[in-house]
Symmetry: C2
Subunit: 376 residues, 2 copies
């Protein structure tokens, strides 16, 4: 079985952008790479055989959701997530922490809207040094998520890349509390690593760099986590309230990451952001944005996003993009896809998702080419 390995194949002469390759026992990931989100072990509206056919190299599954259903013991019994979901290529799981804390605090976006006054705690019963106790929204059972139980869950799921358990502090937090949260996250990540090293299971473990929007804390986090034998570095927590703040933070943070390890930017994947982050040397990044857009009839093209339900599209007897090689564009016209969306046909969602995923994969191949030619 191939061991986890990372190679930097080329560094741009123009920026910190780089082309690399991650090796896993389920295949390679050519970086920079878009990672599609298949929360429940499937992308929305397309099955894993279509995903294979599309050539998606890395799929992101959510431990929180898989823990609640079907349960990690069942996935283990099935032979692991690859076998369970009939997914041949590499998979990455998160720790489950993000979802639990999002439930407690709300997303950054929700928080900004509510100014940090979110009242519901999404079933979170207790947060202490041990971990987080929360109530399953499925069956009401209490679930304790700790560094050790998260790693154990991720071992049972069996993804190629797993992620340390961290605390996700709210965006509205004073500096002292952010500092305390970071220290706890570091202790949790060390415990995650210890649990992982007892049974590597041919998996790679990424740490998560925290520190919110405080550059000094981000630096501190980076310096500390670099001292530990993690296989890669994810960037988590709130990196800013908007794209501008995020890019400023990454400009500062990326140069202090170790160059010989792969990095992953959590939860970013809109096309404008990608343009901004690639020159900083981001290797992989996950987002449900392209698949969610597809289901809302927002189709990606080289000329920008096309809103399928714009009435003019009903008369366009050409594909979404003339030179696109995806099976949707090879077979169907905008007129037909418009009709399917209007008629609320489920096949509309599948065809749109296929196109957007294909678009993202091609886009990242183009970025790889540009890096190799020192164009970015």
């Amino acid at each position: 079985m191939e061991k986890f390995k990372f190679e930097v194949l080329y560094k741009s002469k123009k920026s910190r952008a780089r082309v690399g390759r991650i090796y896993t026992s389920h295949g390679v990931i050519d970086t920079p790479s878009f990672v599609a989100v298949g929360t429940n072990g499937t992308l929305k509206a397309v099955d894993n055989k279509i995903v294979d056919f599309l050539g998606l190299q890395l799929m992101f599954c959510n431990t929180y959701h898989l823990l609640l259903h079907p349960g990690v013991d069942l996935i283990k019994k099935a032979g692991g997530i690859h076998k369970f979901a009939s997914r041949n290529g590499p998979i990455i799981t998160d720790s489950g922490g993000f979802q639990v804390f999002s439930l407690a605090y709300g997303s950054v976006c929700e928080e900004l809207k509510s100014k940090g006054t979110k009242k519901h705690n999404g079933g979170v019963l207790k947060i202490n040094e041990d971990g987080v106790l929360f109530r399953s929204y499925r069956d009401g059972s209490k679930i304790l998520l700790t560094p050790e139980s998260s790693i154990e869950a991720q071992k049972k799921i069996g993804a190629d890349i797993i992620v340390s358990f961290d605390e996700l502090p709210p965006y509205h937090i004073d500096n002292k509390k952010l500092q305390e949260s970071l220290d706890r996250t570091h202790r949790w990540e060390k415990r995650s690593l210890d649990a992982h090293l007892k049974n590597k299971n041919n998996q790679a473990l990424y740490s998560v760099i925290h520190g919110g929007v405080d550059k000094e804390l981000r630096k501190k986090s980076c310096e500390y986590l670099k001292t530990l034998p993690f296989d890669g570095f994810a960037i988590g927590g709130s990196v800013g309230k908007d794209r501008q703040e995020m890019l400023q933070m990454l400009k500062f943070l990326m140069p202090i990451l170790p160059e010989n390890k792969p990095n992953h930017l959590l939860g970013i994947g809109d096309i404008e952001s990608i343009k901004g982050i690639i020159p900083f040397g981001v290797d992989t990044f996950d987002s449900s944005h392209p698949t969610r857009c597809a289901r809302h009839g927002l189709l990606f093209t080289k000329k920008g996003t096309l809103r399928i339900l714009k009435s003019g599209n009903s008369q366009v007897f050409r594909p979404i993009e003339d030179d696109c090689l995806c099976s949707t564009c090879q077979n169907y016209t905008l007129s037909y896809i418009y009709h399917l969306f209007k008629a609320n046909e489920l096949s509309a969602l599948t065809l749109a998702t296929i196109h957007n995923i294909h678009f993202m994969i091609e886009l990242l191949k183009e970025y790889q080419g540009k890096i190799l030619r020192d164009e970015i």
Copy 2:
């Protein structure tokens, strides 16, 4: 371009069952054949390339729906329904009458529940000798459906097989009114035929035999329609309030149909009914039952219908059927499909639909074999 043609290849020595072949310019249909319903030019939850791959020989589209959206002029502009929907194989459309009258009277099932007291008329404004005037539920516009306009619409859609415009009398109707309705239907079918013969457009036109649950009227309908140069004979209207009544009517009716023309039973396709109708010599029949069942998690197997959400299935790491060659069974386990249904994933609906359609196609191939061996 291949002309419409029908051949009886073999007649069972045991019953009236027969194996035949319908030739169209978009390919052949081996009969008896299950016809899947793709109301809006797509089956629910699977796109037409998957349908091609599954080997579905005939797809049923609804003129009523296509008339309201995207409109038949647009389909004509796109180059016809095959090109518009990227469907390579044969297509049949109905006249639109069934849906309009169903809206007015309700389905037989609804009618039986309400005992014919349905108050809403579903937008039907006027029914007279000319045709039916109704209001589009989409944009409120008034649409007049007559024999001539139905045929014109079906010419613009461009299916391989089209159907005469008929009146669908309610199930609760006295004999005099049923007789009057039948006479009008005959006049409408003659007008449909006249409109068709002016521009055959390489399409075949089927008549629809009516007469409700009255055997004498059914016979009269059959005798009359046989005198006209239709390419095939559909059986429409209420053939009974339950399977038993339907089978009794078909036992009476099928022997008086012309043997050298293909027949089509409208709107029947559950597995028990198929078992009953094949020995009477039914050639094709359409039903949305298999695809609807799939979306409700009812999966067809040789041992009967399997309800995916039965909790035991979560632990079954085998396919829906061990020896099934459909792509769902070749790649996924019951356990995974159970999980996708539980998690409300759209891919669940696609995987289930693929299996049920494949099952129906294989089932009909088996029936063909049984007829050839005189087993039924």
